[in-house]
Symmetry: C2
Subunit: 210 residues, 2 copies
DNA sequence: CCAGAATGGATAGTCAAGCTCTCCGTTATG
DNA sequence: CATAACGGAGAGCTTGACTATCCATTCTGG
């Protein structure tokens, strides 16, 4: 297929497709002559994936690029998902050292309680988590952190579900993409469900007294 | 306290504080003369909250402004949290009508299964959820949606925890702010925990076979 | 076969967010 | 009283994500 079809099939304007090609987010099409190219269904799928990651996942294009090259990089699923999580995390904001130390302590405690060997690896994912916990403390809302273990147990159940969704797929590429979707869209979906549920529960609880 | 102290105490540069004042995110200080003002500890706390919402929560300043005026608006906690959730949601991307209808059906089903009266209110929160589910389907990953009920049950447990964290507070303002923190930072914290857990679970599962 | 549309490629322009910088006249302070 | 800080307003800057314009090919319908 050619540019116009690629654009129509993916819902991405021609000018934007060209931009993505320039930025290396979309691999070049197959050359049919020095200045003409042909695109495949894989290009359409790739564009749809980019759209999903930016519009629904809220990822900056640079992160999308990093994720896509990790996908194409041919590492193991586990390693690739590591890259995905790093990019998903963004740059953690900096917080005061003492609050950060307190938050790290909480996590260490958590890991110990669950019998994990805790690699205090300075990944951006844990960096973000530490920053969020530290910020809650700095704002004077430690109650959230007091329940950390309970939240974590639920998060573990969610993660088990996530992995179940991915396993059972046979194709290597499918596993990676499903993992990506389960992580990026899964975050949005779970957050949405949580908000729906909050609305419901808080309606019951907060409206009971007054 | 004066500008320099306010800036130092909150970690926000003077120029930025002025900008926030202009944008109405921070209420003006108490006038001591036609062109001098004095700020209070409440201003510092407000600045810290703005920082938390933008840096950790990732909210655009316009949303922060809307959330803050909702807080100051004097509505009930439940109503205020409604505004918070709307702003937190952002503008949902548009998806194909059929995929959206399919996703709405899933949610209706979910509500029915749990005996809820389903207000198909077109809130941005549900709009985002629908968009995320629809996008997953369009990408060919319906498996995620098949487990929706299981995810929802866990989300409900999380929401109950959230509400528990907030209840028990007496001051009206404290309840609102705690709800805000539990929602915005709570999302980040839970997502972080989920990623940690995914890492752990996927290490076990994906590395077992090969 | 040929006029007009489409293509690939490159460059420049646009727009919104979120600051940051510079002035200026006034006010506080050692 | 010198000088530092302040409040207020405006212009400028940077980044991200496109969008528009050219232009020299290349395709395509009549």
């Amino acid at each position: 297929m050619r540019m116009a079809e690629l654009s129509a099939g993916s819902g991405v304007p021609v000018a934007t497709v060209k931009y993505y090609l320039r930025e290396g987010l979309l691999p070049a099409g197959e050359r049919t002559s020095p200045n003409q190219a042909r695109y495949s269904a894989a290009h359409v799928q790739r564009l749809r994936l980019i759209k999903a990651l930016t519009e629904v996942g809220g990822l900056p294009l640079a992160s999308v690029g990093a994720v896509l090259s990790a996908i194409d990089g041919g590492e193991t699923p586990h390693e690739t998902m590591g890259v995905v999580q790093e990019e998903l995390a963004g740059t953690p904001p900096k917080v005061s050292d003492e609050a950060a130390a307190w938050a790290s302590g909480l996590l260490e405690d958590l890991a110990h309680r669950h019998g994990w060997t805790w690699h205090s690896e300075e990944s951006r994912a844990t960096g973000n988590l530490v920053a969020a916990l530290a910020t809650a403390k700095e704002l004077g809302h430690e109650k959230l952190a007091e329940r950390l273990n309970e939240y974590f147990v639920l998060a573990l159940r969610v993660a088990e579900l996530d992995v179940e969704v991915v396993t059972g797929l046979t194709s290597f590429d499918k596993i990676i993409e499903a993992g990506l979707v389960a992580t990026v869209l899964g975050d949005r979906i779970f957050t949405g469900l949580r908000h729906l549920a909050q609305e419901h529960v808080s309606r019951e609880v907060l409206n009971r007294a007054p």
